[in-house]
C-alpha cells in the first residue's frame, strides 16, 4: 500500500504543477493591459505603477511564475485588489461553506442513488429501474441553474418550507444541496445498477447463495463490495462536477462559498482573487481524485499490484 501511495502521489505532482502554471499565466490572457482593465482608464500613474509591482507584472513572465509558485508554497496568494485583504485569508473564510454544500450534496446523491441503484439492479425493468432512468433524463435536461430556480419556486415561494437564499441555519442548506445532489444521484444510481448487476453474477455470490446465506447478507457482504470500486471511480469524477456545479449553485442561492467569491471577483475584475479561487477549486479536485484512488486501492488489493 505504501508503494502505491508514493506512486500515486508522484503522479499527482506534475498535474498540480501544470495547474499552477496555467493559473499563474491566466493574467496574461487578459486582452490589453490587465492593469487598465482592473483599475479603469482614469487611474493615476502612481496607482497603476503600484498595482503593476504588486501584481508582479513588472517582472519577466518566468520570474512571475517562479514568484507565484513560491508564494503559493508559502500560502501567500497575493492581495485582493478590491478589498486589499490577503487572498489566502478570503479563501479560508469561504472554503468551509463550499465544503458544507458539497458534503450535503454528496449525502443527498448517495442517499438517493444507493437504494435506487440497488433496487434497479435487483429487479431490472421494474419501477425503481424506470425511476432511475427517468431521473437520469431529468438530470441531463435540467442543469443546476434551471433546477435551482424551479426548486426555489416550488419549495421556498409556493410552499415556504425553506429559505430562498443565504446560509443561516441547517434548513438553508437543503435546497442548494438538493439542486446539486439530485443531478449527481442519477449518474451514480445508473453506475451502481450496472456494477451491481455484474457483481450479482459473480461466482462468489452464487456460491454464497448455494451455501444458503441469507439474501440480505449476500447482497451486503458479497455483491455490494464488488460493485463499490467502479462506483467509487464515478463518484470521484462526479465530485469534480460537484465542485464546478457549486459555482453555479452558490450563485443561485447566494451561498457564501468559493464559487460565489469567484463570480464576485470576476465581476470586480479582481484577478488575483480569481486566480486564488480557480487554484483552490482545481487543487481540491486533484486531491479528491487522489483520495478516491487511494480509497479504491484500500478496498481492492488488485489495484495496488499494478503500481
Amino acid at each position: 500500500m505504501l508503494r502505491y501511495l508514493t506512486f500515486r502521489l508522484a503522479l499527482a505532482i506534475p498535474t498540480l504543477a501544470g495547474v499552477l502554471i496555467l493559473v499563474a499565466l491566466l493574467l496574461h490572457l487578459v486582452p490589453g493591459d490587465p492593469i487598465d482593465v482592473m483599475l479603469g482608464e482614469g487611474a493615476s500613474g502612481a496607482d497603476r505603477e503600484q498595482l503593476r509591482v504588486a501584481a508582479g507584472l513588472d517582472r519577466p513572465p518566468w520570474r512571475q511564475l517562479v514568484d507565484f509558485s513560491l508564494g503559493v508554497a508559502q500560502g501567500d496568494l497575493g492581495r485582493s485588489i478590491v478589498g486589499g485583504q490577503p487572498v489566502g485569508e478570503l479563501l479560508r473564510e469561504r472554503y468551509p461553506a463550499t465544503l458544507e454544500l458539497a458534503g450535503a450534496a454528496l449525502l443527498v446523491a448517495v442517499a438517493i442513488a444507493l437504494p435506487l441503484g440497488a433496487l434497479a439492479a435487483l429487479r431490472p425493468g421494474a419501477l425503481a429501474d424506470r425511476l432511475s432512468l427517468g431521473l437520469a433524463a431529468v438530470q441531463t435536461a435540467l442543469p443546476t441553474f434551471c433546477l435551482g430556480p424551479l426548486l426555489v419556486l416550488a419549495f421556498a415561494v409556493e410552499l415556504p418550507w425553506f429559505p430562498v437564499a443565504g446560509r443561516r441555519g441547517p434548513s438553508s442548506v437543503v435546497l442548494p444541496a438538493l439542486t446539486l445532489g439530485l443531478g449527481m444521484s442519477a449518474v451514480l444510481a445508473r453506475q451502481l445498477r450496472t456494477a451491481l448487476i455484474a457483481a450479482l453474477k459473480l461466482d462468489c455470490v452464487r456460491t454464497a447463495r448455494a451455501k444458503g446465506v441469507a439474501p440480505g447478507r449476500v447482497f451486503l457482504r458479497h455483491a455490494l463490495p464488488n460493485a463499490a470500486t467502479a462506483t467509487l471511480t464515478v463518484l470521484g469524477l462526479q465530485l469534480g462536477g460537484l465542485l464546478a456545479g457549486a459555482i453555479v449553485t452558490e450563485t443561485i442561492f447566494s451561498w457564501p462559498g468559493l464559487g460565489r467569491l469567484l463570480i464576485q471577483a470576476i465581476g470586480a475584475r479582481d484577478y488575483p482573487l480569481v486566480q486564488g479561487c480557480v487554484l483552490a477549486v482545481a487543487v481540491t479536485y486533484v486531491l479528491v481524485n487522489l483520495a478516491t484512488d487511494l480509497l479504491q486501492a484500500a478496498i481492492d488489493p488488485r489495484l495496488r499490484e499494478r503500481a
Binding site: P14, T15, L16, G18, V19, I21, L22, V23, L26, L27, L29, V30, P31, A137, T140, A141, L142, P143, F145, C146, P149, L150, V152, L153, V157, L239, G240, G241, L242, L243, A244, G245, I247, V248, T251, I252, L262, I263, I266, G267, Y271, V274, V278, V281, A282, Y285, V286
Partner: protein, 284 residues
Amino acid sequence: MTPETAPATNATARPYPRRRSWRLVAGACALLALVATALLAPVLAPYDPLRQDLAHHLEPPSRLHPLGTDRLGRDVLSRLLFGARLSLVVGAAAVTGALALGLLLGTVAGYGGRTSDELVMRVTDVLLAFPGILLAIALAAVLGPSARNVVIALTVMGWPAYARLTRAEVRAAATRESTRAAEALGATPLRVALRHLLPSARPALVVQATFGVAGAIVAEASLSFLGLGPPPPTPSWGAMLAEGRSFLLVAPHLVIAPAAALGVTVLAIQLLGDALRAGRSSAA
C-alpha cells in the same frame, strides 16, 4: 440485443444502426425542428427580440405575447427563438473547434511517437485536472464576455476529451494488419492517418461529439447565466434564466420558458446520441 437487430458482420462497414430506432427518429426530428426554428427566427418571431415596451412589462402569457414579456416588456417567445440561434451556433462551433484540435493532437499522440504522446497527454492531464466548467469560467472571465470568447473557452475545455478518445482509437487501429501493410507498402504517415486510422475512430467520435454539442449548449447557458456570455441585450437562454430569477414570485414564466427550451434541446440531442451509441454497440 434483440434478435430483430440483425448483427452487422463488419463493425467498420456499418457503424450506424441498420434498423432505425425510435430514439434516432425522434431525436433527429426534434433537432431538425430546432435548427429550422433557429434559422427561421426572424420570420417566426412575433416581435423584435430587443424591442422594449415598458408599459407591458412582466406580463403573463397572453394571446399577444404567447410566452409573456420580461422586465423590459420584451417578448419572451421572440427572445427564446433568437436565443436558440446563439445556443446552437455556439454549441456547434465549440464542438467543431474542440473536435478539430482533439483529432489533430490525438492522432499526433497516438501515432507520432513517444515524445509527442507524452507531451500531449500531460497537457490533457492538466486541463482535465480542472473540474468541469471551471476552466471555461476562468478563460471567459479573463478574455471578457462575448460569444466568440465563450466558443474559445469551450474549445479549450473540450478538446482533451476528443484527443484522448482519438488517441485510444488510433493506437488500436495502428496495430491492425491492414495498417501495417499500408506502412510496409510505403504509405506516408499522413496517408496512413487519414485512410487507415481516423476512419476507424469516426464512429466513436461521432457519438462523443453528439453528446458534446449538448454539453456545450449547457455550458454556454451556464456561462451566460453567470454573466460571462455575450453581453446584454443579446438574447441568450442562460442570461434569460439569470434575469428571470429575480421575478420568480411575480413572473415564473421568465424562468420556466428558457429552462424548458434548454431541456427540450438537450434531451433531443441526448436522444440522438443514445441512438447512435446503441447503433454502435449493436454493430460491434
